[in-house]
Amino acid sequence: MEPVVFYTLAAVILIPAILSVTLRNIAHAAFWLMPTLLGVAGIFLVLGSEFLFAIQILLYVGAILVLLVFAIVLTRGLQDPALRAHNKQKEIGALVAVGLVAVLWLSVLARSWGSGLAPKAAAVDPTRALGLALIDPSRNLLHFELASILLLAAMIGAVVICRKPAGK
């Protein structure tokens, strides 16, 4: 992979990510999430999975982001520009984030990952391989089914939580 592709994707991911946690207007913050999510989709693509690229765009950009925007539209109260967008721990939070990144980077760089480790050859048809791995009873079928149950439970839970209380 060309380094320029990676660095472009990294910029497309990180700069909007920083904006989306710092901007005062929460609607702008939610929309700045979109380049980040698309950049992560690009990472999936360059690392050899077209399927996850499509899923990332469909689910994150198409569904989760729209949900976020709906929730922002349906709630008022912190949208007033006069209000502070961050709590009193802003400085401590920034310190924790910088410390975290320092520790993680040092621990990544301290270990030799076999630099120049070539990417493995991708499977001939990664999408087919992923589908077969998901429904293979000796490998991931249980997790796949548990994910279905999780989605069902989340759907019912969201409806129940969101429902207007009876008699109101």
Binding site: V40, L47, T75, K120, A123, R139, I161
Partner: protein, 104 residues
């Protein structure tokens, strides 16, 4: 110079830290959820990079993990935003610093 595994790990660590900052400092509950989404995406970058660079050929578990994480993120977003709406209806605000009553 080529792109190695470290590049992806450093990118993912940075994205994770940005997400943690959002979770720690946002007053708006939706802002906190945005931070959580960033953290989950950072984890997915790592899964993908390790799958491509380290996992033996033929294993698909890295991608399976990503599918599961995206599923969990969708469930989390649905339930989390439903909670935000319920909180807004109950308290008239979604400031996570002001909501501290367990019993409405």
């Amino acid at each position: 110079m080529t792109v190695t595994l470290e590049h992806f790990l450093l990118l993912s660590a940075a994205l994770f830290a940005v997400g943690v900052f959002g979770v720690l400092t946002r007053r708006n509950a939706i802002g906190v959820l945005i931070g959580v989404e960033l953290i989950l995406n950072a984890a997915n970058i790592n899964f993908m990079a390790f799958w491509r660079y380290v996992a033996p050929p033929g294993t698909m578990e890295g991608q399976v993990f990503i599918v599961i994480v995206i599923t969990a993120a969708a469930a989390e977003a649905a339930v989390g935003l439903a909670l935000v709406l319920a909180l807004y209806r109950q308290f008239g605000t979604i400031d996570v610093d002001e909501i501290h009553d367990l019993k409405g």
